[in-house]
Symmetry: C2
Subunit: 405 residues, 2 copies
């Protein structure tokens, strides 16, 4: 492993020796270290290889030492709901209060809750294609129909009129919602404000409510800027529900903590019912909420350092992948995943991933329709939220297979 | 407050000065300290007033200091599933392995999962009356019908033939399951092995599967002994699903951690699907699992001390309540709740609780049909999992109202 080439922006914090491999090998699941042979480097699930911010650890240690683990309130700890409201105001200018916040056990759970509370069987939801499988999954589990739209393909990425033309082609009498992923996983796109404004207002104008999945919104690379859909207009504030989580920016995937933010009290009430919060069947663990509060209150500096580190990781990854023969890659504007088109090497991404695992000992996620929708074919996804040394080692290994192809 | 009269069995650990009121006032919700006026003593939700066992705090502190909060595996951490299997074997002779265990975010969530995985719309489930509202709630949310049976009324408590006669009266062509609460909340009953054997085998003989809610099974007072339904016979092992949790014996309600134990692999697989574990929509937080592992591995001595303390609390509470005019009370055989019949004082338990809150400044749970089914009318529920001093103070206050009635 090449060491000593850490991100200049945060010396030490994200260095190679800060990747606690001995812990990851027993604690990092979901296709990562704990589920791979010892010699494999997993760049699979979108989960950082670093311990969480010291401020989160300290807050958790204090709370755990004190030892009171009693029932939390159904909608979330007051401190959690207040911290989310302040965080959303401070980081993206969203005007909201604690009463607009519902704590959920993760962003995936939040999406399923929105679907159950907002959709009837047979309702249709316009979703981007490709996009994370949870979009289709949550819609279908609620008995509704996910209608994939190539919302970000080609010129649609920058041209809202073209994106809207795509949406129009799929709008039907049963269309009820538009679900957006912003920043977009796996494409890494951060829609410009004007694009988002046009698309969201088109949807609202056609009677659609909007789910805005902003779980990635803390990982955005300048000059790109995240626009939170509910901030676009007073009308958007009423018709948009935001789903948010702490897995990506703060590495809390295992704690299962996220939230729903929604300025429409009746809608939020329906979502609390769908989340089964009052009955205690559903809800978020108090300790997980405490971790999230620490992240929001004290984790800003750590987060900035993490994004700086990731920017260097992104640049390296894009540069190295661009050398693979015939492969097209765009450096993501947000997220810590890259989604190169690799069909010039092998039209079957699953087969290519199997080969790369066997020959390069690097695990990647194939762009299978199952994971990202039909529009993902011919791509693979790579997570670069690791140290510089580990990333270089993985890329070196991939080169030995792909540059000799 | 009278101090210095702590349980002789565990001097110090459950003394008055071990109730961290300053923390409970901001952290104990669900009708408890954080939701009551400062001068009210809440004997409401079944949640202890003590910090969790030191071994749990220490394990959590260590894990939090290390800081890796990555995704856990869908069905639960290997260490959690192994610890549950060993715990069930050691504490109740249940032969099971890690593969029989599904981690859930609490026992309430586990019951809802069993219902979704095991019932079709219109199916009927025989449930005890009275019993915790979650029984009816989980059944109905799955589209099935809860059929209340006075399974523990009068002589049925000890006479299995009479209990079975009650069940027979409610058995129909759509009956699919029998759900048992053992130990029983709110009655505090711990069915004898022979009673349980007769009832469970009657159910299995009539083609019913059995859900055994054993969330209270760590709180049982000798000479009574908990029998886990799945241990009754090889047939019972296949037809019984156990729901278990860590809120009662170990005070982890806020961490939302429980499990399903089931020896039928196909049934457990359906439950994992119904829990949405694979998709990450559902699941238990890793940190919460870590707390439960510490409880099972190292918490046995603490638990024994806790039960000793509770036995003294129970005896005091039963003796004191028996003095209230016309009130009937049985000392519970298990659980840390008491369920006196108070209709001699006021036939309307909600009204009585409102009055006791106003005049005695003690909060209790009325035996409303909403909380415990129609069979709960004329009762109220009191939780005695606090210190001796706090309990005496609450009982003194209740006396001033009820003994002058």
């Amino acid at each position: 492993m090449r060491t000593g080439r850490v991100s200049p922006a945060a010396p030490g914090t994200f260095a190679d020796d800060q990747v606690p491999l001995h812990l990851l090998r027993t604690r990092a699941f979901n296709q990562r270290w704990a589920e791979q042979p010892l010699d494999v480097i997993p760049l699979t699930a979108a989960d950082p290889d670093f311990a969480v911010a010291p401020c989160i650890r300290e807050r958790l240690v204090r709370w755990c030492s004190e030892g009171v683990m009693s029932y939390g309130p159904p909608l979330g700890l007051p401190a959690f709901r207040e911290a989310v409201a302040a965080w959303m105001q401070g980081t993206r200018g969203l005007r909201c209060g604690p009463a607009d916040v519902l704590a959920t056990d993760g962003a995936a759970s939040a999406m399923a809750t929105v679907a159950r509370a907002s959709l009837q069987p047979g309702d249709e939801v316009l979703i981007p294609d490709p996009v994370d499988f949870l979009f289709r999954h949550a819609v279908e589990r609620a008995g509704a129909v996910a209608v994939p739209v190539a919302l970000h393909r080609g010129a649609c990425r920058d041209d809202a009129a073209m994106a809207i033309a795509q949406l129009k082609r799929h709008l039907g009498s049963r269309s009820r919602m538009l679900w957006l992923c912003n920043p977009h996983n796996p494409l890494g796109l951060v829609p410009a404000r004007a694009w988002l404004e046009a698309v969201v207002h088109w949807a609202i104008g056609h009677g659609l409510r909007v789910l805005s999945d902003e779980v990635w919104s803390d990982i955005v690379y300048a000059p790109h800027r995240h626009t939170s859909a509910a901030t676009l207009s007073p009308e958007a504030a009423r018709q948009v529900v935001m789903v948010y989580g702490f897995s990506k920016g703060f590495g809390l995937a295992g704690l299962r903590i996220g939230c729903i933010v929604c300025a429409d009290p009746a809608w939020l009430r329906r979502m609390a019912q769908a989340a089964e919060a009052e009955s205690t069947v559903g809800g978020a663990a108090t300790l997980s909420q405490v971790a999230a509060v620490a992240a929001m209150e004290d984790g800003g500096d750590w987060l900035r350092g993490f994004v700086e580190h990731l920017r260097a990781q992104r640049d390296l990854t894009a540069m190295r992948i661009a050398r693979w023969p015939g492969v097209q890659v765009a450096a993501p504007q947000g997220t810590f995943v890259m989604f190169p088109r690799i069909d010039a090497i092998d039209a079957d991404a699953e087969r290519l991933c199997t080969r790369l695992l066997a020959e390069a000992r690097v695990a990647l996620v194939p762009g299978s329709p199952r994971w990202f929708g039909p529009g993902a074919r011919g791509h693979l996804r790579l997570c670069f939220a690791t140290s510089r040394g580990l990333l270089e080692r993985a890329l070196d290994r991939l080169d030995t297979v792909l540059l000799r192809s």
